[in-house]
Amino acid sequence: MYEFEYVKPGSLDAAKSAIAGAEDGKLMAGGMTLIPTLKQRLASPSDVVDLGGLGDLAGIRKDGDSIVIGAMTRHADVAASADVKAAIPALADLAEGIGDPQVRNRGTIGGSIANNDPAADYPAALVALGATVRTTKRELAAEDFFTGMFETALEDDEIITEVVFPTAEKAAYAKFPNPASRYAIVGVFVAKGSSGVKVAVTGAGPAVFRVPEMETALSGNFSADALKGISVSADDLNSDIHAGADYRAHLVGVMAQRAVKAAG
């Protein structure tokens, strides 16, 4: 890796001023994407601001009908949380299926959504569950937060503090992993909550997206059968050596049906 200044602030205020003062700074949460990128010399930030010292940002709590997960909460902690399992078991399942044990014990929800990898799992959950992303500056609806491939609405000096997940009546996530990387080739999160049914897809396109036709069908009849015959256009979907766009489009349908079945 190239040289950079490393700072590990002890407070959110210190972190804010560290990132604001850096010429080309980068926030590091679990570092599961950033560190390999640095090691391969694919990134050369002037400063790395390690959020690992901000203990207040890690943790899970119930807040009325919502589950609030601190930005620095590790995937393994979400997967193991009794509160998450009780309120939104699909979210715990999703966290349990991210990467491998090492990644789950280092990677955080804040880091994952800030990176917005098109094949990451969390974006589908945030969008389908209608989550709200709280930052040092504002609150953003999940759909406004994820703006494109590796792009979010975050400003350079804005830090995610927590994510608020409304509980859902029914929810499940079904993933078809890339056989090599085990990232999602297609992941579909289906949720039925107070704001209706949402179907969010990750992996298939440049960024997470919803499938309104499926949502309409499921609103009337929340069953896998309701999804039969509904197809997603392959036009804007990803294509690589592992899966073509047609295959991805097809898998969206299959994974959506699996998710609905799992949601019960």
């Binding site: 190239y2 391969q40 010399r41 090599a180 990387s181 899966a243 073509g244 295959y247 097809h250």
Partner: protein
């Protein structure tokens, strides 16, 4: 069989250090005053080098030297160890393989310059400052295109990119047999390119002692003496007594650490120039771009049958990718280690193979677990299945009908080999029973009720281990001998050092070799140390590859141990005042038959070194013996592998639900180690069949250049294997052993693909190329579904 002797599942002695992280690998070695090297590699598949400006790199902090091809002008290129002679006595084209690129780069990853600095980070920083001006040339990637409509020549010496056009077998007889055949089955297939991916990346440390003039190279090698011979004699002209090669613990090789690589020569030269040790350790990306790749054949095969299903003839036309340069043993792999196996387990009377080898702008290709035999087994066991389906003959029946029968051994195949022994029904029958082959259709039906497509596949393989004898191999183009050496050194107090030319990089020699000595001498296995890997300690040996360690190295060790017993018997006879003919050796004790006279082995050892009561006139003191063993023939392991799969037609997802192997490795020294070798081989074979693929784009960039895209098989991808073995002992070595290291990777790919094709039979599938990924399977199912919808 004793608890520690031949046939016992002794726990691996070496694991005591490995499982505690106490192994000593090359990268664990750090020398005083050591410098660090980073290799600057070509980002282009094919380009001319207009200029290299080292100035900025040389001025960078900590930089000690920047070396390019001109610094190696006095040295030779990396030699090829096997010369293939093609049709019309035309020798293969053998372009120079420079240590560092000379004016041209020929694959992404081709080494161009070396930056040496005080620290690895400084070297890496400075490597980015080496300013190389390239002019890109059209890249030659696809083999078919390379040989027909090449956009460029990889080497000026081979304008048509052909390295050789080789054949074996009687083409006229084969063509005549096809003319009168009742049925001809044709299959076109690709044997996918693989990246070996040993867990330990390659590493080399050069060291030079300017007082003694001795060079030492610490390196990740499967065969240190081969490296010493090739590098010392052909590349650097360093006399062998001034060149020590030491390969300590090596973390997996699978063939990829047989070859002499440029980095070994570079570190050796640089250490002398700088008079400081120079260390280089490959990172994983470099490993993908510089370790020799594997397989990569495009093949058309045809099988001629009579009305009863007897095989009349087989012919094969294969294009084999050599990559950008000839790696050490590359030409032998698709020729003598491949086409000579085309008889398989069958009595096919005439066989012909034509193999054209192509240069392309890709990483060189060489031997990898199985080396030529997996390619032969794959095409053969695939076409037998296809022929069975086309003729409506049961695939097991068709195989049985054509098996070489036990009373036909030794059996001369039409492709140069003589199988000394085998019994193919003896491995087939238990494999069928263990895999419940006969009740499979019930399982298929049950799976169908769950919406799954279930299939079963078999592969009946034979392979050849321990290339031999040396004189025949030499006549076929080998530029090295293929014997093995062993020294048994009995110390005065009775402990034993075994110095072996074989090299262990995961095989467990420290245990299985010790078992041979323990068995023969009746000593405790704990008192035997196996020494390997250091050319200053061990006798000249050829190393470990081609499943040869036990079949060649183990036999050399057995012979050396016999010499020890022979001499010790004479010493014991003297001590017991008896005639040597009357002395018997049992359980570590020399006895005079019919008396109560006895001398333990330890007393004899001490006497040999303190020869006060000793027949000095007739016998030299000491107890140390060496044997060099050159086998009379290859050994021929064989067996049946059966795979059962289940496919989800909705996604193409595939699960291996069962995998069974019944192998015949001849006598088995350590069944536990052998079983582990089979497990590993099966996983690598499954990896080739379902997951692994080295994919290049048309510009020559490796698309699957990391684990994000190159899919290694994982523990949860494979079932719990069931493995057993039957024994027909090898007839031409004293241990009766055949070798087991590669069989798993040789037999399993066609078993897996045959199972996949069987599962998809209702979709009209007759073949699917490896790797059979979910995407590929789904495309087949989807097209089938679309076709059905259209009907």
């Amino acid at each position: 069989m004793t608890e520690q002797g031949i046939g016992a599942s002794v726990l691996r002695k070496e694991d005591f250090r490995f499982v505690r992280g106490r192994g000593k690998y090359t990268d664990d070695i750090n020398l005083l005053n050591q410098t660090h090297a980073i290799i600057v590699r070509s980002p282009h598949a094919h380009a001319t080098i207009n200029s290299i400006d080292k100035a900025a790199a040389l001025a960078a902090p900590g930089v000690v030297a920047v070396l390019t091809a001109e610094d190696f002008a006095a040295f030779g290129g990396l030699p090829c160890g096997w010369q293939v002679i093609g049709k019309g006595e035309e020798p293969m084209i053998e372009p120079k393989h420079p240590i560092l690129a000379e004016g041209k780069v020929r694959h992404v990853g081709d080494p161009v310059a070396v930056v040496i600095a005080e620290t690895k980070t400084q070297a890496r920083d400075a490597a980015e400052l080496v300013d190389i001006d390239y002019t890109e040339l059209p890249a030659v990637i696809d083999m078919r295109e390379a040989l027909q409509n090449a956009p460029a020549a990889v080497h000026d010496e081979a304008a048509d990119n052909q390295c050789f056009d080789w054949e074996i077998g009687d083409r006229a007889a084969v063509d005549a047999a096809f003319e009168k055949a009742h049925h001809v089955t044709t299959l076109e297939l690709i044997n996918n390119r693989l990246v070996p991916n040993a867990m330990e990346p390659r590493c080399a440390i050069g060291d030079y002692d300017n007082a003694s003039g001795e060079h030492t190279l610490y390196t990740t090698s499967q065969n240190p003496h081969v490296i010493r011979l090739l590098m010392g004699a052909f590349v650097l002209q360093i006399p062998e007594h001034k060149l020590r090669i030491y390969a300590p613990d090596v973390g997996g090789g699978f063939g990829s650490k047989i070859y002499h690589y440029a980095e070994e020569a570079i570190m050796t030269v640089a250490a002398k120039v700088l008079e400081r040790p120079v260390k280089w350790t490959s990172d994983r990306t470099e490993a993908f771009l510089s370790d020799a790749h594997a397989r990569d054949h495009i093949t058309k095969v045809e099988l001629a049958l009579d009305a009863d299903g007897k095989f009349l003839a087989l012919r094969e036309f294969t294009l084999a990718n050599m990559g950008a340069y000839l790696s050490t043993f590359a030409p032998s792999i698709p020729t003598y280690l491949h086409a000579t196996l085309l008889a398989g387990q069958y009595t096919t009377p005439v066989i012909y193979a034509e193999v054209k080898a192509a240069f392309t702008n890709t990483v060189p290709v060489d031997a990898y677990r199985g080396a030529g035999r997996p390619e032969a087994t794959y095409l053969l066991e695939r076409i037998v299945d296809k022929a069975a389906a086309e003729m409506g003959i049961d695939r097991i029946e068709l195989r049985r009908k054509n098996f070489i029968q036990p009373d036909q051994f030794p059996y001369d195949t039409p492709v140069a080999l003589t199988y000394d022994t085998g019994d193919f029904e003896a491995t087939l029958a238990p494999a069928l029973a263990a895999s419940k082959w006969d009740s499979f259709e019930e399982r298929r039906k049950e799976a169908a009720q769950r919406g799954k497509l279930r299939g079963i596949g078999i592969s009946c393989y034979i392979e050849a281990c321990g290339i031999a004898p040396s004189n025949i191999a030499g006549a076929l183009g080998a530029r090295a001998g293929l014997y093995e050496s062993a020294t048994v050194r009995v110390n005065p107090t009775g402990s034993i050092q075994v110095l072996t030319g074989s090299h262990s990089h995961g095989q467990g020699h420290e245990t299985s070799f010790a078992q041979i000595v323990a068995d023969k001498l009746g000593v405790d296995i704990g008192s035997i140390e196996i020494v390997h890997g250091d050319t200053n300690k061990i006798p000249f040996g050829m190393g470990t590859y081609g499943s040869r360690s036990m079949a060649v190295g183990g036999v050399a060790l057995s012979n050396a141990t016999d010499k020890i017993i022979n001499k010790a018997t004479k010493i014991a006879a003297h001590l017991m005042e008896a005639s040597a003919e009357d002395v018997v050796f049992e359980d570590g004790i020399f006895k005079v038959a019919g008396t109560d006279k006895a001398v333990p082995f330890g007393d004899v050892a001490l006497t040999a070194y303190v020869p006060h009561n000793y027949p000095l006139e007739e016998l030299e003191p000491g107890l140390e013996e060496t044997s060099f063993y050159d086998p009379k023939n290859f050994t021929f392991p064989s067996g049946s592998h059966i795979c059962e799969v289940e496919i989800d037609p909705a996604t193409g997802e595939l699960e291996i639900v069962a995998m069974h192997a019944t192998d015949d490795f001849g006598n088995v020294i350590n069944p536990m180690i052998v079983e582990g070798q089979v497990h590993g081989g099966l996983v690598q074979g499954i990896g080739q069949a379902l997951f692994e693929n080295a994919a290049y784009d048309s510009s020559g960039q490796l698309l699957s250049g990391s684990y994000m895209d190159y899919c290694m098989p994982r523990a949860d991808d494979v079932p719990s294997f069931t493995v057993d073995h039957e024994v027909t002992a090898c007839t031409h070595n004293v241990l009766g052993v055949k070798g087991c290291g590669e069989a798993g990777a040789i037999g399993s790919p066609p078993a897996v693909i045959n199972a996949v094709v069987d599962a998809l039979r209702d979709y009209g599938v007759t073949h699917i190329d490896m790797p059979a990924t979910p995407a590929k399977i789904w495309n087949i199912v989807n097209q089938g579904a679309t076709a059905q919808a259209a009907e």
